[in-house]
Amino acid sequence: MKLCYAVGALAIVLAATLGFLRQRNQDAETRALTQARALAADVAARRPHPELAFAAVVGEPPASKYPFLRKRRWLLHPEAARVGRAVDDKDAHDLVAQAQRAGEVARFADDGTLTLALRAGGATAIVRLRPPGGKQPLPWGWLLLAIGLGGALAAAGRGRALAGAAGLALCAAICATMVAGPGSARLLVGLAALPGLALCWAHARGALAGLGRHGFAYAYVTPAGLGLLVLVLVPFAVGCVLGFFDHARGRYTFVGFGNFREILGSAEFYATLAVTIAWTAVNVLLHVAIGLALALALREPWVRLRGLFRVLLILPWAVPNYITALLWKGMFHQQYGAINTILSACGLARVSWFSGFVPAFAANVVTNTWLGFPFMMVVCLGALQSIPREVYEAAAVDGAGSVARFFRITLPLLRPALVPAVIIGSIWTFNQFNIIYLVSEGKPGGSTDILITEAYRWAFERGERYGLAAAYGLIIFLVLFAFCMLATRKRRAAEVT
């Protein structure tokens, strides 16, 4: 909590400084643009400006049979109107071309140089100038001083939680003034923020002390924490933010809840969601049923070569799933696939597996069941070992049949191991991209697509709508999150009773 105050205060000071600088740079840019516009209009009217390092007027394009070559225009220096020569600067050339389409184009180079191309009165002029006082750099010195001063003030006093919150609020208010307020007042207000910073800092000290006491523990956790941060948290955060943006032609624009409205407002989404839920339910049910049955069979004393069977049955799990998916897809081929060959050898009609929703869905389920049951089998095998024999023997003595033993002993005792496995299996299946994408490819007509493949198609097959795809991802996350919460609560309730 205390650390939060400190981080919050730091972030606010930084944001305020950046905002302040941006505003100042924008003011400077506006001034430079106004100046450049006036100069360019002069140049276009053929009034020379010898003080400019680079100024030119664009002449008539040469005739060419290639449309794109007509853009390779000739420039005339205003001082020597008779001497025509080609622009020898690619950036200037491209800028002129853009200006002829858009009217005016300006570009600031990193060193503050401004190049502006402008269409005025039938001619296009280009000027390059160096505005006085280029971009403002970040005042690192002042920032460090502010933070140091805050630290010193904090060392002098002790704060309370309420005071910390008040300080934070004060910082926020000040920050807003700095970004939006009038120029001269900003620096003074910024200085006034220091007491608030001090209050926050005082709270951070307690947390930092804790860090010192458990230093080793934190050091051990750091590598995993960093991995989690880079591989999970950062992409997750980027995905969350992206969901509120729309991507077109390399640019992102903020659209608020627009993507979510679009998704939740389309009937196709609900159809896909229903397919996804059916897909998950059917698969997990089959995985558990087959996995449990095989685990029980492997436990029977009359089964020989138990080790070999165990290895053979785990094998589907060990093969990379896209290879398995492609193998099954080949087996489902209408003309040359193994399954139809067997069917027709048995005198049955060949099935066109991907021509209807039901057979295509079935083909997907068969493939994924082949991939999924070994995991459930392994979980059940492990859990079955931990059920003591004596319980069964006692039940047998009491006259319980095999059915009663299964439902009264085996299932309840398997439950603690099975429920987490079912939750994990559901999440995997819900997002089982490979099978859908490779086996049915969403056929027929996208009807077997699940949410995750639909998200992929929006991102990569329907015009790079990354924002919409990210929104899909967020919705998937929310659905799974709700499912997990529900399942965990049920489990807790079951354990209590």
């Binding site: 729309d246 077109a248 056929k443 198609r457 790079e464 709508r465």
Partner: protein, 385 residues
């Protein structure tokens, strides 16, 4: 300091060439690097499927290559997202005259030029010479010959092509006078011509047809190599997949009997493109110019049997005598340049769905096309177009 200078003078080129095409580009790079006073050319092979996404992700962050080789159909996307550098500044008329006109025109987008062409790719008709003496000249003949050679029970088929993909259906679509976008770039899907083309594809793929169901690229190669496919529709990439020793020929696709027009496949142009973040653009362009020179094109045509884009190559005796290059050169005159627009990229999967609906399930062409058109329109609206 010296090392930094050397680093700056390197031009990095990403490509996805394999086999002989890779040999050819590596020979060219070696030739270039042996020249005096040139920036070093460094090649990096990237798998084809990954190249486009890598470019889209890496270039805006400044990690991409200076140059890369890709088909022209992504130019629109990439030009609009400022990934490609317009290069007309470097180009003059004699340089453009090097190339077959269709190939350089395909690289223009919004009155700018975005690359120099290396080779062109379109489909043509491959046929097994042991099964067919004279390849069909019209679609009626194609069906007739195909019927004779089709034996469903034995798994033999007269013609194999990926009939549920627009790319391979396009020759018939264009041959019947249909299109996806009109010359002004407007969506133009549900037309009587497109309906007739679909009906023909349904005839070919239907129960009385000559094309097997659910065709994929792998199946197509297998059937052709086993002699179970008398004819296939495929592009120059297929040459490397044919079993050595199989006697086959390549001819342009037939004339559509009903319209008298040539079946016109999509034309794809493989080009060397410049990244908008190329470090030294002048140096990078010198490399582009070298890779597309007449001498370099001749080497690519000879070593890799690439259908190169340079006019001069087709005046060379060794290229002229290559029957495959000659066939693709002939086919080039009857191709339709694939639109390099972002709009086109949204049309593929809905159109493919319509093909599945009609060709695989025997649906009616017109409603299927109408549905595809609505879907494409929805995607276009979604992307703000």
């Amino acid at each position: 300091m010296i090392q930094a200078l050397v680093l700056l003078q390197t031009v990095v080129l990403w490509h996805s060439y394999r086999a002989q095409e890779k040999v050819a580009i590596e020979q060219l790079a070696a030739q270039w690097n042996a020249l005096p006073d040139v920036p070093r050319l460094e090649l990096l092979a990237v798998p084809y499927d990954a190249l486009a996404d890598k470019i889209t992700a890496a270039v805006p962050r400044g990690h991409g290559p200076d140059l890369f080789i890709f088909a022209h159909d992504r130019i629109g996307d990439w030009a609009e997202s400022k990934i490609l550098e317009p290069i007309e500044f470097f180009v003059d008329e004699p340089l453009c005259d090097r190339f077959l006109r269709k190939t350089i025109d395909a690289l223009a987008y919004g009155d700018s030029l975005y690359g120099l062409p290396l080779a062109y790719k379109s489909t043509a008709l491959f046929y097994n010479k042991a099964l067919i003496a004279r390849p069909p000249a019209t679609t009626a003949e194609l069906y007739e010959i195909g019927r004779r050679l089709t034996d469903r029970r034995a798994g033999r088929f007269g013609l194999v092509y990926e009939n549920t993909r627009l790319y391979f259906h396009a020759p018939f679509l264009h041959g019947y006078g249909g299109e996806v976008f009109d010359p002004q770039g407007r969506l133009h899907v549900t037309t009587p011509e497109a309906v007739r083309a679909l009906a023909y594809a349904r005839l070919l793929g239907g129960p009385d047809g000559i094309v097997p169901p659910e065709t994929s690229g792998i199946l197509l190669a297998t059937l052709f190599n086993e002699g179970k496919a008398a004819m296939v529709v495929a592009g120059p990439w297929f040459v490397g997949e044919v079993r050595p020793g199989l006697s086959y020929g390549v001819v342009p696709l037939p004339v559509v009997s009903e319209t008298g027009r040539r079946a016109a496949p999509f034309l794809g142009v493989e080009a060397v493109l410049m990244s908008a973040r190329a470090r030294d653009k002048t140096a990078a362009f010198r490399v582009m110019e070298f890779l597309t020179s007449d001498a370099a094109a001749l080497l690519r045509a000879r070593v890799a049997r690439q259908p190169v884009a340079n006019q001069a190559a087709y005046r060379d005796g060794r290229v002229l005598r290559d029957p495959i290059l000659a066939a693709f050169r002939q086919q080039l005159d009857w191709t339709r340049t694939m639109p390099g627009t972002p709009e086109m990229r949204m049309a593929w999967s809905p159109y493919d769905m319509a093909l599945v609906q009609v060709v695989a399930f025997g649906g009616a062409p017109e409603p299927a096309l109408r549905e595809a058109e609505q879907k494409i329109q929805a995607y276009l609206r979604g992307a703000g177009r």
